[in-house]
Every structure is written in C-alpha cells, then in structure tokens.
C-alpha cells in the first residue's frame, strides 16, 4: 500500500517538488488545515502579510526580481476577493504567480455558506487558468500543472481553489510529470526563413529602431544578453517600454530612453519616423502607440513575441516571429555573425543617428531645478547617483513619481525594476518591495512612492518590520494625486476635483508607529545627506521627501495623438510660447 497523504500534505509536497522557498499568505478558516501543515516543512518559509492584496503584490515583486513564480496562500471569501487586484495586475504584466485559495467544504459549495464566494468564477478573467479541486486524487496533478501554466509560454497568474474537506481527504502523492506537452500552449517554432526575412530587412534599413519590452525580461537574463549583442551587432538605436527597462543598459549611448506617453523626444520621434521597427517582446500598448492610425506610418514592422495572440492585435505587422525572445534573438545574432559583419549596414544609418542626435539635443527630460524646493526629478536623480554603485532593486507605486523614476533612474540589469504597468495599481510598490527583499535579503530595495499610492497598502510596513526586511520607502510627497492633478491642469481647466490629499498623515510618526526609521527632507541642500542616511540604515525606512507640489511630468503625448506631437517641458514651452504649438495640442 503506498502511503496516503492528506490534501494539505500534498499541497506542501508539490510546493517542495516545485522548489518553492517562500509563500506569501494570510490564514483563515478555509485554509487552516494547510496552515496546520506548515510547521512540518522547514524549507518553505511563510511570510505573513497584512492584507491579501499585499501578498499578491509581494509575490509579484518576488517573481519579477527572480524569474521564479511567486506563491500566494489565502482563505476563502474575503481572502480570495482581496487578492483579485494583484491577480489582475500579474495577468496584465505577465508575471508568473500561483495562488492557492481555501474554499468551503464541497458539500457546502453553492449554498451561500459562511465565507463562500465563487472564487474560480471571480478570477477566471484575471488568471491564465484556474481550478476548483473537488477530487483529492486530482490535487497533485493540478498543482503541478498550475506551476507549468504559470511559468511557460507568456507567464501569468493561476489559481487553485481547494475546498476544506479536500485538504483533509487522503490520496497518493504524484510527482510532477517530466516534460509533458502542455496542450500545445507554448510556442517556439519559428522558421529559418523568418529569420532570413528579418536579416534582409535589417540590411536594407536606413532608419531602424528596436523597441523592446517586458517579454525580454520574462525570457530570462540570457535574453538581455542576446539583446545587447543584437544592438551591438546592428548598431541600431533602441528604446524600451516601461516594463522592459533594464534589459538594455539605461546609460548606454545607443539607448534612446523610454518611449510612449511619457517617453523621450528622441525615442518617440524615432518611432514615428523610422523605416524599420523591430518590436521585441512588447505588445503595442495604447500608452506606447498613441493614435493607432498615425503610429509609425512609414515603417516595416517586425514583431517578436511568444504569445501568438499579441501579433496583429493592435498594429498590423509585416513580419511576425512567434517564439521565445532568447531563442529568436540568439538565432538572429548567429546568422548576422555567420553572414559576416562586413555586410553590416552601419554606414547606411549614419544619417539616422545624426537626426537622432538632433532630437536628443532637445534634452526632453530636462526640468528647471530649484534651490528653494526639492524638485521630484532632482530627487530621483540624486537617489540614482547615490545608489547606482550598489545592485539596487527599485519598485514604484503609480503616478508621476513612477514616470519620473522610469525617466531618471537608469537600470543596467534586468529584474531590477518592478512597476505596475498594465493595470497601473496604486499600492503595488510597497508590498512588491517586501517580496523583492524576501528574495534578495542582502540587496538594497527601494520603493519610489507617491504619498497617495503608498497609503493604499501602507500596512505592509508591519510585514517589513516583522521579518527585518530593510526596504526603503522613498515617498515623493507632493500632497497631490499628482498625475490626476496634472491631467486636470492640462485637460480639465485646472478644476482640481478631489485630487488634493487633505489630512495626510505625519509619515514620521507613522514610521515611529510601525517601528521603523522615519526621515524627512524638504531642503534641497540636505537631500544627499539624508538619502545617504537612508541607504546606510540597516532596517526599513520611510523617507518623506517633500517636493514641489506643482511639478508636471514631461514630455507627454496626449493619448490619441501621434508620437511626433509631444508636449515638452517648461523650458521648451517658454520657447514656443508665441507659436502656442504645445498648448494647441492639449
């Protein structure tokens, strides 16, 4: 007779076989058998969060910074509904995550039992797949398949709903099956012909640009290496989406900065004017394309992506290569080398680089600094300068501060930048930082935050204190929902409807209450010294950085406008005042 294990034991057996070291969770009635079993599995450390949304974002931070799936454990009903925002966030940004939720016993399902909700129904549209396990004999297979679905193809979240009686029931444990083909859901069958077509386009291009995205990060560190090689071999300029930052070094001369709504002048103009656009692992999001009909009107478009449904979803492309970025780019690189670098078309694109240099001279990320108040851009720049020599991990909340972080903090490695791009979830950054720090206990982890966002998941500071996670919460406190205020200023006649943060808490006292260090800065001359204090402090810090409340984030493409119609910052607006060119666009 093989040994029979309880459902709860099987859950942990699976987690062990899937090499899970950390789970983020919160207990409750419907998962108590699983919590009871926790003590018998010392290789798995449970991080107790303060809200299930926090567990989800922490798992996302963990996953993004390691490439391994994040694991979440929550109870039925409110536990499951609280994690929905994080599941949706992970779904939008393709983050691998496995969420285990408790459910009322099978005989009570459908009776509106205490803390019952239709968890698989609620999470169906925000997971790659989900399962309600009603038969204990299926539990092992479902758990293993869940990890496979979450981590293969385009990664994403999955959920396994386990009724309480199943957690008690007994069955044989089944090990993961080796390399079972997953229903043909993972795609990596590109042809040599496609590669040749791409090479041909590369050779002919006079005004090329590479536009890379989060898919490069998801494909693993090798993809970033391949991308760097590709950029070096071709000599092409490269721009990146918000999620792709770090795949290519942010301080390299061939990097044009981020593109899109708050991207640089050179990146967006190059996208608009190019004759060859190579999209690597990005998805033509509307914050990137602006007005679809005017998007990069004169270019041949190539799209490399692992998800076939991303191809032609928004922008029709001339050449699609469906496959894993690492594999595709490696193959392209090898072909270029084989063909001999002599045939390189670097001279062809010299003129293009001259044009790009002209755009660059606009210095579109520029801002007017001040000696009286801290400018938020300046704060991010100083933070970057004072932390760039460490292997720093940065998370953000959502708003102006997020865009300033993307513009002014330069990333040189993949997996160092965790931000909520697709869903734009305020409250993501702090718990994400918790997850990153759990995965990298010795590294410097900073959440570049807004004062409004950070209040949405502030309670996770307790988690950081409980587990000695020395995360640094760097709040660019402008007393406004700044991004909302900016849109109201530019687009709603300065009607600042409900965007001022009345009655903000005293963040110093808050730090005190949580038992971490509070630092406050409002004088530009003290900024460096205080940032240094934060970096040097061995423990969690809340840094309340008071910045100019009226600063706007530029450049900006009003959505629905093409790339070459950007609003630039105050320096440029001064120049263009008479023409009123910028204003007419708003």
């Amino acid at each position: 007779m093989p040994k029979l294990l309880t459902g709860a034991e099987i859950v942990f057996k699976c987690l062990e076989d899937q090499k899970v070291n950390h789970i983020f969770g919160y207990p409750g009635g419907a998962v108590l058998p699983i919590y009871d079993e926790l003590k018998n599995h010392p290789s798995i450390k449970h991080i107790l969060v303060r809200h299930e949304q926090g567990a989800g974002h922490a798992a996302e931070g963990y996953a993004r910074s390691t490439g391994k799936p994040g694991v979440v454990l929550v109870t039925s009903g409110p536990g499951a509904t609280n994690v929905v925002t994080a599941l949706t966030d992970a779904y939008m940004d393709s983050v691998p995550m496995v969420c285990i939720s408790g459910q009322v016993p099978t005989h009570l399902i459908g009776t509106d039992a205490f803390q019952e909700c239709d968890t698989t129904g609620i999470t169906r549209p925000c997971t790659k797949h989900n399962w309600l396990v009603k038969d204990i004999n299926e539990l092992s297979d479902v758990m293993h398949e869940a990890f496979k679905v979450a981590t293969t193809g385009r990664p994403g979240p999955v959920l396994i709903d386990i009724p309480k009686d199943i957690q008690f029931a007994k069955a044989k444990y089944k090990k993961p099956k080796k390399d079972k083909k997953l229903n043909g859901k993972s795609h990596n069958k590109f042809s040599a012909n496609e590669i040749d077509q791409l090479i041909n386009l590369i050779n002919k291009a006079k005004k090329p640009i590479i536009y890379s995205g989060g898919g490069v990060i998801n494909s693993g560190p090798k993809a970033s290496e391949a991308l760097r090689k590709f950029v070096e071999l071709t000599g092409f300029p490269i721009t990146s989406t918000l999620q792709g930052l770090g795949a290519y070094p942010g301080d390299d001369n061939q990097f044009l900065g981020m593109l899109g709504m708050h991207g640089t002048y050179e990146a967006n103009n190059a996208m608009h004017d190019c004759d060859l656009l190579i999209n690597i692992g990005a998805r033509f999001d509307d914050r990137i394309t602006g007005k679809i009909d005017d998007f990069s009107p004169n270019s041949k478009k190539v799209h490399i992506d692992i998800d076939p449904s991303s191809i032609n979803k928004i922008i029709k492309v001339d050449l699609a290569i469906v496959g894993d970025v690492t594999k595709v780019i490696d193959k392209v690189n090898r072909t270029i080398v084989k063909n001999g670098n002599g045939k390189s078309n670097k001279p062809n694109i010299a003129k293009w680089w001259e044009q790009i240099q002209k755009w660059r001279n606009k210095n579109s990320l520029n801002f007017i600094n001040s000696e009286d108040s801290i400018k938020p851009q300046h704060a991010v720049q100083r933070l970057y300068e004072l932390t760039k020599n460490k292997d720093t991990y940065v998370t953000t909340e959502v708003g102006q501060h997020q865009m300033w972080a993307a513009q002014h903090y330069k990333f040189n490695k993949p997996n160092r930048w965790m931000t909520s791009g697709g869903l734009g979830t305020m409250g993501y950054g702090l718990p994400a930082a918790v997850g990153v720090q759990v995965a990298h206990p010795e590294k410097l982890v900073i959440d570049i935050a807004g004062e409004a966002s950070v209040l949405m998941t502030m309670q996770e500071m307790s988690t950081a204190v409980q587990y000695n996670l020395p995360i640094k919460i760097f709040i660019l406190n402008n007393q406004y929902m700044g991004m909302v205020r900016q849109w109201q200023e530019l687009l709603h006649e300065k009607n600042y409807s409900e965007s001022y943060s009345e009655a903000l808490p005293d963040f110093m006292k808050m730090a005190d209450a949580y038992g971490c260090l509070g630092i406050k800065a409002d004088d530009p001359s003290e900024l460096d010294e205080k940032i240094q204090e934060m970096v040097d402090y061995n423990g969690p810090v809340i840094f309340d950085c008071h910045v100019d409340p009226n600063e706007n984030c530029f450049p900006m493409i009003p959505s629905g406008k093409p790339h070459n119609q950007m609003i630039l910052g105050p320096n440029d607006q001064e120049e263009n005042k008479i023409k009123g060119k910028g204003k007419a666009l708003v």
């Binding site: 129904g121 169906r124 797949h129 859901k185 509307d286 449904s309 530019l490 629905g560 406008k561």
Partner: protein
C-alpha cells in the same frame, strides 16, 4: 458624441465585419463553457449563436460551435485567444459562405391552428425536410433543419399561419468530403 476634452484615445477607422463560424474542441470539464463565453463577453466579441455538446465520451471532448461577426482583425484575435485557453484543443474557423463547409441549424416550430393552416406550414417548410413530431387537432410541432437565415425567414413566414413558439439549436458545422478539420 461630444468631443472629449480629456486625452482619451479615439477609436480608429473600422474595417468591414463578416460572419464566421468557430468550431472549438474542448475538454468537457466544469467551467469550460464559462471560459469560452467569458472570453467573448470580456473582450467585447459578439455571439450570434452557440451550440455545445459532448462528442467523444472516452476522451471527454465537447465540441462548441459559435457563430460570430467581426472584422478580420477581431476574427483573428478570437481564434488566437481561444487557442490560448488551457482546456481548448483545437479551433476551426470558417467564413459563412465557405462552400466546403456545411452549416446547419435545427428548429422546432409550434403551430396552433386549424388543420389547413398546419398543412400550409408544412408545405412552406417542404424544402427543409419537415418532420411532424407532435400533432393534435389544433396544433403541431414541426422540426426543420436549415441554414440560419432560412430559419429566420421561415419563422417570419409562419407567424401569420399560427406559429406561436420557436426553439432553435444554433448552427453546427461539418466540412464536406472525406477530409476532417485539424
């Protein structure tokens, strides 16, 4: 629509829509229909009809037939998104006027009225292999199989002749000849 002051994106030029029939082979498991239907409603695709039943009890496979309309880009997306669902094995897609594919729908008509009216109804249905499934002095249930638009037409035609209730299965599809879809 009033011109929005706010910088929201504006919809781009629309292409022409066409009617397509999707045939989807899925694992017959709990929630699979909800996944398929949820995909359509969640992404704003349209469902004109849907028919589903298990077709292979051993392998536990159900076959879903969906009639939908969309621009070529939307139809592409529907196929690709369906293919991504974990319990979906394969997806076939046919234009409504595809000559290599048979599309059929079954309808049950309940007619209430005198014999002569019922006779007239049967006559009208002649082209569509009418079968009388139930008959009383004052009523009949007639089954026909036909194309969707033919059934549309018939329902209109039979209304004045005493049609009081219609039940339809939604279209199902099969390729002609010896080849099967794969």
């Amino acid at each position: 629509m009033p011109k929005s002051k706010s910088a929201y994106s504006t919809p781009s030029i629309k292409q022409k829509s066409d009617t397509y029939i999707f045939v989807v082979w899925v694992d017959n498991e709990a929630g699979v229909l909800a996944r398929v239907v949820g995909l359509f409603s969640g992404r704003g695709y349209n469902i004109e009809s849907l028919a589903v039943a298990e077709v292979d009890a051993v392998k536990n496979i159900s076959r879903i037939t969906i009639v939908t309309t969309g621009t070529p880009q939307v139809i592409d997306q529907i196929r690709l998104q369906l293919t991504k669902l974990v319990p979906v094995h394969k997806v076939g897609e046919f234009k409504r006027d595809d000559k290599d594919v048979i599309f059929k729908e079954m309808a049950l008509f309940k007619i209430v009225g005198k014999k002569n009216k019922i006779e007239k109804c049967l006559n009208a249905c002649k082209k569509f292999n009418p079968v009388v499934l139930d008959e009383t002095k004052s009523s009949a249930v007639i089954q026909i199989t036909a194309l969707r638009r033919e059934i549309d037409k018939m329902s209109k035609k039979l209304k004045p002749l005493g049609l009081i209730s219609t039940s339809r299965t939604g279209a199902v599809a099969m390729t002609r000849g010896a080849k099967i879809f794969n």
